[in-house]
Structures are given as structure tokens and as C-alpha cells.
Subunit: 183 residues, 2 copies
């Protein structure tokens, strides 16, 4: 059979954008939010509007995305996947256009084994033609033609209806369950 | 029926990258190539290797893509298409990563009616899930799941096997022939 085509989201799935946003909030507003306050919510829905505006302004500087931490286990898992399937990274970068260049360079630095031709920056992921999409935002699955697989993040703890990956060290097993014989 | 989804390539289809490359060659090397020498060939296949290298270096500066001319008739045609179908612009920008930001801003400036979420930067267009793709490079059609429609450019004059658009003023008629009743 043909190799399956797997698309992997970037922010909060392989790049710790969420951690960088929390650190920015602590650095600039001395504020901290409890795990309870954040659980089940997008960060931008929990913080005050003026703070959210300042954070968005900071994120419109591409440098915000240049030094994100790598999500634990993602390099090992994606290295394995790249050898066994057609692997794409898809990032909805269009909200912060100046992140496009830094995101591309970040991927080349931390995931050099991913073919640069397989990097996709888009806004509407329904335009992606792959067999599955691993993403922390289930809203991308609504019109996506393949199988959505949820990657756990504090904001999506209550979301059900999709296979879920809590840590990259279980990704291969979950993909093998979802696509028997394909990996 | 659902609105059809149409993807449109950027370079040499709505942005005159080819013209900018020719102008760069004339400005920097005083050289000119005849229409006969260019017909049926990619520009990079016709010019000397050292000149090609210098041109690629120039194109790695994102500014090269900031002020491209708009291809004649593309704004009017895409404005009409945007109202009648789900319109995406897909650019294989990954060869020149520093073009990502300038290309996004160019699109916002010259095609403000295109939803920024419908802008897709990728390398391998087989990952695009639309009903058709209007592109000057037929190589993108090989693994594309929809209908390829060729947009004429000097390098593709001998390519056959696809509907062909010579000028944007005939695009709507050709799309209507290809997808009866859809527009």
C-alpha cells in the first residue's frame, strides 16, 4: 500500500508556544494563572483584554517564535514517522505573518529531517490533503477530509470524539491502532 | 451543491516573478535572451550556471518579491472567483524562505479580498485539497488530487493534457466548461 500521509501541527504540538506565552505573561505582568483557570480554555479567553492585546502585539514580532522550546519527545517521534510515512508539518501561521520566516528556520533547526517541501503554512487546514492531522485544536477537524487526532493541551482536556495523544512517546502506537498495517 | 474550491498559484500566474527575473538579468548582466531561447524552457535552465547562482542569491533576499507586478487581469478575475467559489492562493515559497513575509504582504496589498486564512505556502502541492489548481507548472498536477489547469507561461508552451488559460479574461469561461454549473 502507499505510505500514509500524516500532517502534524506546530504550535503546542511540537513547539511550546503555550509555554512561551505563559512566560511572557509572567515576565511582563507578574501574573500567574492556576492550572484550574486554564484547563479547558484557550489562554486568550482567560486573560484580560488589554493584556491579550499586549501579548498579541508581542507575538506580531516574529522573534517571539524564534526560540520556542521543543515539545518533549516530538523530535524522536517525528524522526521515526518521517521514515515510515509521508510527513508534513502544517502551521496556521497566518494570524502572525511575521512568524512565517522564524517558524521555517525553527523547523529547519530542530527538525532537519523534515523535507522543507513538506512544510505547509496555511490558515484553514481543511485545505490539507493528508490521511490524518495531529493537532491540539479540534476545530481544524470539522472540515478536514482525513482523520483528526487530538494532541493534548490544557485547553482541550474536555474535547472528545477523536483519538488522543497525551505524549509523543505514545504517538506511534495510536497511529498504528488508527491505521492498522500502515506504519 | 457546495461551492467548488479553487487554488491559484502565485508566481507567474498572478505575480510577474518571471518579468522581475528577466529585469534583474538585464540590469545586472546586460544580457537579453530571445523569445525563441526562452520558449519551452525554465529560465534557470537557459542561463549560465554562475548567472543562475547570482540570480538565486538575489531572490533569497525577500525584497525581490516585495514589488512584483500584478499579472494582467488577475485582480478582476480573482475578485469574481472569490465571490463564486472558495478561493485559495497556494505558493511554493519554500525554495526562498525569506519570500514568505513579503509574499503575504504583497497578497494583502494587491488582493485584499482574498481571506488571509486561504493563503497557503507549501512546497509539495499534492498536499492541497481543492477541486482544481491553476498553475504554470504542470509538475504540480502529477500527484494533485483535483483537476490541474495550466496557466500559460513561456516555459510551458509545449505542455498538453490540461485545460489551458492564456489570459485571466478567459479563466471564468474555462472554469465553467471544466466544472459545468459550479460557478
Amino acid at each position: 500500500m502507499n505510505r500514509i500521509r500524516v500532517a502534524v501541527d506546530m504550535d503546542e504540538v511540537i513547539a511550546d508556544t503555550y509555554g512561551a506565552m505563559l512566560n511572557w505573561l509572567i515576565d511582563h505582568h507578574g501574573a500567574q494563572w492556576s492550572a484550574e483557570a486554564l484547563s479547558g480554555h484557550q489562554l486568550f479567553d482567560v486573560i484580560d483584554a488589554d493584556v491579550a492585546g499586549a501579548l498579541r502585539t508581542a507575538m506580531h514580532d516574529g522573534a517571539f517564535f524564534a526560540d520556542l522550546k521543543v515539545i518533549d519527545g516530538s523530535q524522536e517521534a517525528l524522526s521515526t514517522l518521517a521514515a515510515r510515512c509521508d510527513l508534513f508539518v502544517t502551521s496556521a501561521a497566518m494570524e502572525f505573518p511575521s512568524s512565517l520566516g522564524p517558524k521555517f528556520l525553527w523547523l529547519r533547526r530542530h527538525f532537519p529531517f523534515i523535507d522543507p517541501l513538506n512544510i505547509v503554512f496555511c490558515g484553514d487546514k481543511s485545505v490539507i490533503a493528508t490521511d490524518c492531522l495531529i493537532d491540539d485544536n479540534a476545530r481544524h477537524f470539522a472540515r478536514f477530509g482525513g482523520q483528526g487526532i487530538l494532541f493534548s493541551s490544557p485547553h482541550n482536556v474536555q474535547v472528545t470524539g477523536y483519538p488522543r495523544i497525551d505524549h509523543w512517546n505514545e504517538a506511534l502506537a495510536i497511529l498504528s491502532d488508527t491505521f492498522p498495517g500502515a506504519l
